[in-house]
Symmetry: C2
Subunit: 160 residues, 2 copies
């Protein structure tokens, strides 16, 4: 059990560290900064922050933690590219959402046993999971952590 | 034991998937493409590939797998910024190095038991490790996986 917990602890530390870096980076920006593109013709910073927030919100039902808090984010930040859907999200509202979702996920993570981490996530059917036991909560945590890092690497290209 | 192995399997899958994406992306580029910058005034693609290769090479002694294969990469791709040190690395040599290092790490990973994954890495002294048991091989694997994703997110901004 000690071994299992240490492995999970490592993954939680990595998640937390990336969440913290993303949150600190975006909170340091003005609303004008958030309108900047990461590279010419590419996504704006506000889009990346919204995309990561929507991804976190989707983790709530995916990991069996309850209902989504901000399902309206998907249309703007996931299913459509940047600038396709007009919106009024600015830094303060985004920062509040980021904290709320981060706190919610973190407190739910803390309740899971190792066996629950390895249980299937809600996008895999019991039959899928029988064939592909890696479609579990733990691999979602790992994959979402690399997803944070992937977009953080892009966002950080914009100097203030 | 089954639980421990499933947790480690998840982390190895995430590493492998990111290594594979990075390798496929860079191999698809010509030597001219590799000279492109990820954004105006930022690192060139060849530098990012070299930086990730050097990081992989450093994992060999860090994880106790033996001597480094390409220690000369550090001066060009780690300790100095892009363009500071002239070099002649091009796609074919980089691709060979990438495969060799990826194969070496992968075959060493496969030999480790869960307890060995949780043993200290070589940049932590026994005293450090006593105080900070998360300074182990497993958290290096997780951290290096997010590092791959961080730079892949940047590299991918360059359209061919």
């Amino acid at each position: 059990m000690a071994t299992e917990n240490a492995l999970i602890d490592g993954a939680l530390r990595n998640w937390h560290s990336n969440m913290d870096r993303v949150g600190r980076f975006f909170r340091s920006l003005s609303d004008d900064d958030l309108q900047k593109e990461i590279a010419p013709g590419k996504n704006r910073l506000i889009y990346i922050w919204g995309h990561l927030s929507a991804t976190n919100d989707r983790m709530i039902p995916l990991l069996g933690f309850g209902e989504r808090r901000y399902p309206e984010l998907d249309l703007i930040f996931i299913s459509q590219p940047d600038r396709a859907v007009p919106h009024n999200f600015a830094g303060e509202a985004m920062g509040d959402m980021w904290s709320q979702l981060g706190d919610l996920l973190w407190s739910e993570f803390a309740k899971l046993t190792p066996a629950e981490w390895l249980d299937r996530h809600q996008a895999a059917s019991p039959e899928d999971f029988e064939r592909e036991p890696h479609r579990n909560r733990y691999t979602i945590l790992l994959g979402r952590t690399t997803h944070l890092a992937y977009h953080l690497g892009q966002a950080i290209l914009v100097k203030r």
